[in-house]
């Protein structure tokens, strides 16, 4: 389903601005190069040869939060790391999204104790939760595609409310 099928022979395509913007956002979403624990290794594996997340416009991991659109919280978030994580999130430019990768980031996982946040959603708002300990790279890619579906359905009105 390439663009040329949509264009026909007129060279013109009609769509809404929202669709256009959301389409471009989903095809160049830069994640932040930021790993916490075990899941970061699987996140690296998802970036590497076998799984190659650049197929989804994510080949560029940015080390700076100011240049990234997506935060993948890969691993367990300790009480000491929480304020740092929040600060990194606050430094990201809007619009921004968060994927909680793995059980620890989603709900605390096996570490139900004093040191770990029982879900990173206590610190930052999470868009997509990816289950697994650690999730396979395919599961992370599925999480990313789920986020894309969510982004494609967003409206400007919702953005205006969210990032007031």
């Amino acid at each position: 389903m390439g663009v040329e099928q949509k264009l026909g022979n007129m060279g013109v395509v009609t769509t809404t601005l929202e669709n256009m913007v959301n389409w471009s956002r989903t095809n160049a979403m830069w994640p932040m190069l930021f790993g916490l624990a075990c899941c970061a290794i699987e996140m690296m594996a998802a970036q590497a040869s076998d799984y190659d997340m650049s197929r989804f416009g994510m080949e560029l991991m940015r080390a700076s939060p100011r240049q990234s659109d997506l935060m993948i919280v890969a691993g367990r978030c300790s009480k000491k790391m929480g304020p740092v994580l929040r600060r990194l999130y606050d430094q990201m430019p809007e619009p921004k999204w968060v994927i909680a990768m793995g059980d620890c980031a989603s709900c605390g996982g096996v570490f139900n104790n004093y040191a770990i946040f029982q879900g990173v959603d206590e610190v930052v708002p999470v868009d997509v939760y990816v289950a697994g300990c650690p999730p396979r790279p395919e599961a992370l890619i599925h999480g990313v595609l789920t986020l894309y579906e969510k982004v494609k359905g967003d409206t400007f009105k919702e953005y205006a409310v969210k990032y007031k």
Partner: protein, 409 residues
């Protein structure tokens, strides 16, 4: 939310020199979110121009409370926590813990299970070194190394998936043996990997070992003497790159390592380049061990037949009332351990990984303490980076191969 305590700057003034307080040197914060700190390590640097005057590692950003959490679980259930300590080396952590449990309750392991454990742990060592080499290359701007190394690592994870169904956190090594016997395809899969990997190591060496840029970045950087290394308790490839041939697999053999013929690669230089060479040589030695273990692998059971500690096979539960009771007891109550304390250590890819375990007569450990290699290896960092440039810190930090899960646990 946890409570955050406000502290004044005066409390930390003793950490830096007088020159920093007067403003002659600059304090630079590196991490906890930095691509070259390999996780969530924070390093506070005191710089004179671009030269490092002092370096203070700040750890604890990944403190997980594993040791405390394990006290609340029975001996079998606590094992899943060990996977997630040093997440590059889950099977090695399993082995260290399981050896401690077996020592505590005096449990024997069949020869076949020992051979399987050795093969898997050596594969894990290669996988760990692959992640290290990839990240090392990435830090020194050799991006292609990362892609090559993860390609090979995926083949190892395929083998783990074949035997256990999981890629990383397998918990495959259990007290008294392993979870279940390896499938028939295991032998072929490992042999194919070993055959392929011999050529790949040569390929990495062709890319890196004589690369002039690589040598310029590494030779003479981060010099660690063997005396300093021993004072700080540095173990593993970092110690061997300083000239000592201390390797627990030779010095205190466990799991039948004494029957395999392999060398301990050492280098006298003690710099970053030597640490690289030692790890590359270790890859070849691990392949040797795997080949020998595969050729020698005996037939027979993979679990101890002591039903008080090892759950009976599924087939037995249907026909034997006793087996059913044992199974029920083991998975509801666990097995009791005597009131005693043991220490067992294995050679992990990073050094001596020790497990101190204390039983109190009940089914749960009374106390667990881990002697993790990365913690001691990181402690030596301020000693070896002084006088180097900031860019060299990246190379040194990468070369000592820390894993934050191992440090903070």
């Amino acid at each position: 939310m946890s409570q955050i305590e406000e502290v004044s700057v005066d409390q930390f003034k003793h950490l830096v020199s007088e020159r920093a307080i007067r403003g002659e040197t600059m304090l630079l914060n590196m991490g906890p979110q930095h691509p070259s700190t390999h996780g969530v390590l924070r390093v506070l640097l005191e710089l004179d121009g671009e030269t490092i005057v002092n370096c203070i590692p700040d750890i604890g950003y990944l403190h997980t409370g594993v040791e405390k959490n394990m006290e609340a679980k029975t001996f079998q259930k606590a094992e899943v926590m060990t996977d997630r300590l040093d997440y590059m080396n889950p099977l090695g952590n399993n082995l260290s813990y399981v050896l401690a449990v077996e020592k505590l309750v005096d449990l024997d392991v069949p020869a076949r299970a020992q051979a399987i454990r050795v093969i898997l742990v050596e594969l894990q060592r290669i996988a760990s070194h692959m992640v290290w080499l990839g990240a090392f290359g990435l830090d020194l701007a050799a991006m292609s190394m990362f892609l090559y190394c993860f390609r090979e690592r995926e083949r190892i994870l395929d083998i783990f998936e074949l035997v256990s169904g999981q890629r990383m956190m397998t918990t495959y090594i259990r007290p008294g043996g392993v979870w279940r016997d390896v499938p028939v395809e295991f032998d072929k899969a490992v042999r194919e990997f070993v055959q392929m990997f011999h050529k790949r190591v040569d390929e990495y060496e062709r890319l890196l070992t004589r690369n002039p840029i690589f040598i310029d970045r590494l030779v003479g950087i981060g010099y660690l003497t063997v005396e300093t290394a021993l004072q700080y308790g540095v173990t593993g490839p970092n110690l061997r790159a300083s000239g000592s041939d201390w390797d627990l697999r030779k010095a205190r053999p466990y799991m039948g390592y004494e029957q395999y013929d392999f060398n301990i690669p050492t280098r006298p230089e003690g710099d970053t380049y030597a640490r690289y060479i030692v790890r590359i040589e270790e890859l070849r030695e691990s392949l040797k061990i795997i080949e020998q273990a595969l050729n020698k692998m005996p037939l027979g059971p993979v679990n101890s037949d002591n039903r008080k500690f090892v759950p009976p096979p599924r087939a037995e539960i249907g026909v034997s009332m006793e087996a059913l009771i044992h199974h029920f007891k083991l998975w509801t109550e666990g097995f009791p351990a005597p009131k005693n304390s043991v220490y067992s250590a294995v050679e992990s890819p990073r050094g001596e990984l020790g497990m101190y375990l204390e039983g109190d007569g009940g089914p749960k450990p009374y106390r667990i303490h881990l002697r993790t290699p990365s913690f001691d290896n990181l402690a030596v960092l301020p000693e070896i980076v002084k006088g180097h440039l900031v860019a060299d810190l990246v190379a040194i930090l990468a070369s000592i191969d820390i894993v934050l899960g191992d440090i903070d646990r």
